[in-house]
Subunit: 552 residues, 2 copies
Amino acid sequence: MTQASKAKRSWTTRRDAKRKRMQQADHLLDGKYVETNQVTQALEMLIHPKDRVVLEGNNQKQASFLSEALADVDVDTVHDLHMIMSSLSRPEHLDIFEKGIANQVDFSFSGPQSLRVSQMIEDGQMQMGNIHTYLELYGRLFIDLIPNVALIAADQADAAGNLYTGANTEETPTIVEATAFREGIVIVQVNERVDELPRVDIPASWIDVIVVANQPYQLEALFTRNPRHITEIQILMGMMTLRGIYEKHQVQSLNHGIGFNTAAIELLLPTYGESLGLRGKICQHWAANPHPTLIPAIESGWIDSIHCFGGERGMEKYIAERPDVFFVGRDGSLRSNRTLCQMAGQYAVDLFIGSTLQMDYAGNSSTVTRGRLAGFGGAPNMGHDPKGRRHSTPAWLDMMNPDETLVRGKKLVVQMMETYQQGNTPVFTERLDAVDVAKESNMDTPPVMIYGEDVTHLVTEEGIAYLYKTDSIAERKEAIAAVAGVTPIGQEQSLKQKERLRSNGIVAYPNDLGIRHSDAKRSLLAAQSVEDLITWSDGLYDPPEQFRSYWS
Amino acid sequence: MTQASKAKRSWTTRRDAKRKRMQQADHLLDGKYVETNQVTQALEMLIHPKDRVVLEGNNQKQASFLSEALADVDVDTVHDLHMIMSSLSRPEHLDIFEKGIANQVDFSFSGPQSLRVSQMIEDGQMQMGNIHTYLELYGRLFIDLIPNVALIAADQADAAGNLYTGANTEETPTIVEATAFREGIVIVQVNERVDELPRVDIPASWIDVIVVANQPYQLEALFTRNPRHITEIQILMGMMTLRGIYEKHQVQSLNHGIGFNTAAIELLLPTYGESLGLRGKICQHWAANPHPTLIPAIESGWIDSIHCFGGERGMEKYIAERPDVFFVGRDGSLRSNRTLCQMAGQYAVDLFIGSTLQMDYAGNSSTVTRGRLAGFGGAPNMGHDPKGRRHSTPAWLDMMNPDETLVRGKKLVVQMMETYQQGNTPVFTERLDAVDVAKESNMDTPPVMIYGEDVTHLVTEEGIAYLYKTDSIAERKEAIAAVAGVTPIGQEQSLKQKERLRSNGIVAYPNDLGIRHSDAKRSLLAAQSVEDLITWSDGLYDPPEQFRSYWS
C-alpha cells in the first residue's frame, strides 16, 4: 500500500508572498499610510492576478473609495480576480468585471444591480460562484474562500493603524479576521486620520495598509421608512400580526427587517399594542437595525434591548442618549456587528418576519424573479427553523406538535404581504420564477429565499394562515388559498373550505381577531411623519436630507 | 384607545450602575489592575445580587482563578446570581450553587460534572434555565441574556489593558463584546502582565478590571488522542468512512471532533487514502481543533487549511511553523475563534461526523442518559442540515433528491459508533433515555443531540447505512437495523431485508466497499504512537506530560 511521505515544501508561502508584495509597495507607504492619490498604484502592487479579494460592502456601508480605485487598476497587471462581496450594488462593482479585472464572484445580495448581474452572467463576463446568506459567506472566508486581500472601510484610524468603525462596525471585523490571520493583506479606507480614536474597534496589528479616502464611504439610510407612506392596509395587517401572532404566542424577541409592513407594527406598539395591555409582555428584545420607526416604542418603554447589524444614518445622537437600549461603546456611539447579530437573529429570537415578491402554493418564496438575480442577504438565515437550537421560550414551545414523542418547538417565521404586488401581479403563483431562473442561469438549485416548510404564519390583508397547524402540503395550500383574496388560488376556494379552516383555528380573519377594518386608520400610528419621529426623539433623531423633503 | 406616552425615566441606568460599582472598587485598582490577593474583595464590590454573570470556561480553557475567587465571596453580599457558562466542569462551578452565591444557570456542556448537576437540580440547589449549543448561548448574550459581568481569561495584558489570548482566543472576544458594549463590567484574569504584547487580540477599551492570576488558567489537552489506543475495529470503520462517504461524495470540507474514531480517519489519510489516490481531492478544508493526529496528513500535503475553535496543548510550536495551514497572528501563534469556527462549521463545511451514546430506531441520538445531564456543546449546531444555506458543493448536491421540484442539497451528518457501548450496552434503543430525563427534570423538550431526520449516514463496524436515501421512517429503521449487528434491533432483521437494502444502495458492507477485515491493521495508521506524531512533526509537537507516560 502506498504511504504518503513528508512533503518537501515551504510552509510559509502565504507569508512570503505577503512580505514580497508589501516590499514592492513599500516606497508608497509612510508607516501604514498610502497617499490618497496613490491608492490605485498601491493596489496594482498588492493585488495579483487570480487573487481572492473581499470587497466590503453590504446594503448599507460600502468601501466605495477602494471599489472605485480597484476599477481603475491596469487590467494587464491585475486581472481575473475572484471577488467575494456581501453586496453587488454599486456600478463600479460590475465595471470591474466588464473590464476583466475580475471574472468570478461569490456574493450575498445584489438588489440594485440585479438586472445587470443577470445580463453579465448570460454574456459570460461574470462567472457566478454561489449566492449565499451573509453567515455562510462569512463562514466560507475561514474554510474554502480564504481571502488574499481584503478591501474594507472604517471611520477613523490613528497613527499606529488602530481603527474606529463607529456605528457601522457591521461585518468589518469578520472580514479582517479571516484575512489578517491567514497572511492576507488588509487594506482600509478611512474617512479621516486622527491622533486619538474615540474607541478601538479593530486593533492596529490586524491592518496592513491605510488610505484616507477622498470622501467618506458610502452609507445608505436603507432602514428608514417615512411613516407618511404607511397605508391603511399595512396598518390592518400590522394589527392582525400584533394580535394574532405576537400576542397569541407571547413573542418576546424578534427580528424586523426593511419595509413598511413592519414599520407599521413598530408604530402600532405604543397605540394598539398599549390598548391590548401588552407593554412589557411582548417585543422586549430585538435583533434589528436602529429603525427610526422604533423610536416611539423605545420612548414609551416597550423595548429593553436592540442589538444591531449596522447603524442607520440620522440615528447617531439618539442612540448615544439611549445606552440602556442599544449596544454602545465608551465613546457613546453604537457598536453594531453584522455577524453576531445574524447569529443572534438565527438562534436567539422567537420570530422572524419578512416579505417576498412571489410565494408558490406550497409556501415557498423568493425575491428572485425573471431577469432579476437578487440575493437574499440574511433572510434565509433568520427565516428558517434552526435545527441546532435546544433552548425553549414560550413562543417557540407554542409551535410544538404535542403528538410527537420527541416534542420540540419551532421558530416563528412569518411572511407578510399583500395578495397583489404593484402592477396587479398576484404574489401567489403555482411555480416560482426561481425554478426557471435556475435553469437559465445554470444554477445547481433554484434560488428559494424561504422554504414553505419553515413558514409558520402567512399574513395578508385578508387574514392570517397558521401554517404550522397544517398537517400536509395539501392543507398548507388550502390555508394559503384561504388568505389569498381574489388571486387565482384564492378564487378557487369555497366558502365551506374556508369555514373548516377557520373553525380548526388554521385561519383567522380580522373579525376573528376582534379587529374592524374601520379601526385601521393612520391616526393609529404613534408617528405619522418623520417630523413626529423627531418630536418623539426629543430632537435627537436627525434624518438625512432625502427624508426631510417630505415635510413641507 | 390608550396611547402610551413618553416614559419619564433615566436612559443611563446601566452606565450609572457600572460607574457606581467601579467607584466602590476604585481603592483596590491601580489603573485597571487589582492585586492578586484582593480579587475576591473586588468581586464583592463589582458583582451585585441577581446579576447575570458570564463565567468563561469551555471544554478546554477555563477562567479557573476567577471561578475559585467567585466561590470565595461572602454569600451575604453576593447571592442569587444567574450564571451563564459554556461549560459546567470544575468542582467550584457547582460549589457556587451549593453556597447560594448563584441559583440559576444557563449552559452548553456539563460533561465532567453531569452527575452532580443532575443531583443539584433534583435537590433544588440549581435552577436550570436551558441547555444550549454554543452558538445559541452566545446569541442570547446579545438578546435576552445580556450580562452584567463577564469573568474571562487571557494569556497576557499590557499596562493599558490590551489583551493577548494567544492560541486560545476561543469564545473570549464574543463574551467581552456582549458585556463591554452594554455597560457591563469585564473582569479578566491573565497569566502575566507584560510591557509589550506579541499581538492585540482584544483592545484595552473593552476591558475594565485585570488581575494577574496565582497560576495560569486551566487548559485541557482534550483533543489529543494517543494513536496507541486506536483499535482495529476503529480502523475498519475509518476505512469504510473514507471509502464509502468521503470518497464517494467528494467531501472537501469537514469538521472532526473528539474521538478515536475520527483520529483513526485522520491517520488513515496518508496511507489508505493515499492508496486510493485521494490526496488533493478530499478533506482539504477543516473546521477543527488542531488535533495532533492531523499532523501526518498535514505533513504529507493533504490539508490546505484548518480553522480552529481553540488551541491544543503541545501544538503551539508546530502550528507556528505551519502558517500555510493554520490561522496565525503576526506573532506566529494560532488565532482560534470558537464563535466564528462554529459558524463556519455550521454553514461552510460539507460534513459533520460525530458519535453518540444512544440512538433510537428512528436515528435520533443523545448523550444524555439516565442520571447524567450532559450538554452537547457544538454538536447540534454542526450536526444538522442548515436550512439557511444557499451555496452548493459537490458533496452537498450529492444528497439531493432529484424528484423534487425545488431540488436542494443537504449537509452530510455522519454518526459513527460501535454497536455496543462499554459494558455491553447496545447503542441502539427503542426509546432514548433523554425522553425520561426530560420528564424527571421538568425540561420542556427531551434533550436530543442530533435528530434522525438530519443524519445522512450511520457507520458501525458492520457497515454503512445511507440514511439519506431512505424514503420513510420505516425504511430508515430498516437501514439502521441492517448495520446494528447482534443488538436486538439487528437480530430482528432478515437476510432478505438486508439484501434488498444492499441492492438498493441503502446499505454497504465492507466487501461492497472493497475492504477486507484483514486489511484493517494498526500498521495502516500513519502514526501508531505519540512518538510517531512527534517524528512526523520534526520534533515540533511537544505533547503534555500525560501523553508522554505511554511511550516507554
